[in-house]
């Protein structure tokens, strides 16, 4: 296995973090579902979340909204990375145990 292939996942993760850095440039317009909900008058049926951690991808307690968005993006990107990686590890371990038992 060459070095590029071996550490490719780091390159991929770096790319994801770089995308998150650009998140303040995202279009502020409502998305497809929100647009249809506004046009057809059912947007006000949307309920507030029962609790809030990082609502609207803005990290709480930071003065600059752009910085707060970037931080929220990086935090989320790393959490999803850890969750996906961890889940894959757990499932593979289950397979190995299944093989050794069988």
């Amino acid at each position: 296995m060459n070095a590029l292939k071996r550490y490719w996942w780091l390159l991929g993760l770096l790319l994801a973090v770089i995308v998150a850095l650009f998140s303040p440039l995202a279009s502020p317009h409502p998305d497809g579902l929100e647009r249809v909900a506004e046009d057809q008058g059912f947007i006000e049926r949307a309920e507030e979340a029962p609790y809030q951690v990082i609502p609207d991808y803005v990290f709480p307690g930071i003065g600059s909204e752009a910085l707060a968005t970037i931080l929220a993006g990086i935090v989320g990107t790393l959490i999803v990375f850890g969750l996906g990686y961890g889940l894959a590890l757990v499932l593979r371990r289950g397979e190995r145990e299944g093989i050794s038992k069988g």
Partner: protein, 219 residues
């Protein structure tokens, strides 16, 4: 396309929760049997990229935006079973931590994006690749078509849930959702194709036809 709480009635929320729990549980079983060691970090990276890319809304038409859903992209990279799990991770983090998509509606959001979006993407991509073969343009064309259709069909699934819930009239919500997502799907297709061209250079092994046959053989 993340449905907030309040849009769906109890029956529709419950039915989509049951369907998603079954679908994702079964996918986890399949992944246990088919996942290769090198795909472990790839599941993390794919999820991370899709999460970040979902924050990058792009404007499609006057005053409306869309963002990558990533179901087709994940299916192309990982096969449909692992892709469903990755998209579920993204949606769970968005709902629990970022309050994007409701908690009661999470079952429907998983159903639309992690099951319907992934499987439409996978079936279109794997079917076209088998027809068109190993050529570079075949990879890109199949990827674009898979990405576009996965968004449109996921949007139609969302419309059906809104119709079943009595939130919107069928005759209005189906064409409205289908129409705007036919546009958003073009963005999905372009981003998916851009990622595929990056992979074509750095990890062509992930896009080889034998990968599709390996996943299908494992079914």
């Amino acid at each position: 396309m993340h449905i907030p709480d309040g849009f769906l009635n109890t029956a529709t929320s419950a039915a989509t929760w049951v369907a998603s729990a079954g679908g994702v549980g079964y996918a986890a079983q399949r992944v246990t049997r088919t996942l290769r060691e090198r795909q472990v970090p790839l599941m993390g990276v794919t999820g991370a990229f899709i999460f970040a890319a979902q924050m990058m809304n792009f404007t499609v038409a006057g005053g409306t935006s869309g963002h990558l859903l990533g179901g087709a992209l994940a299916a192309i990279l990982l096969g449909p079973w692992a892709a469903s799990l990755v998209l579920t991770c993204v949606l769970v983090v968005q709902a629990l931590i970022f309050q994007d998509g409701g908690l009661l509606a999470l079952g429907a959001n998983i159903f639309n994006m992690a099951i319907v979006g992934v499987w439409v993407g996978w079936l279109v991509y794997s079917g076209l690749r088998r027809l068109l073969g190993e050529k570079t343009w075949a990879t890109f064309l199949s990827g674009f078509a898979a990405a576009w259709l996965s968004v449109v069909v996921a949007a139609l699934a969302c419309s059906v849930e809104l119709g079943l819930s009595g939130t919107a009239a069928w005759g209005v919500v189906l064409p409205a959702m289908g129409g705007v997502h036919a546009l958003i799907g073009i963005g999905e297709g372009l981003i998916t194709t851009a990622v595929l061209s990056f992979l074509r250079v750095t990890r062509p092994d992930l896009l080889a036809l034998r990968e599709i046959k390996r996943v299908e053989g494992a079914q």
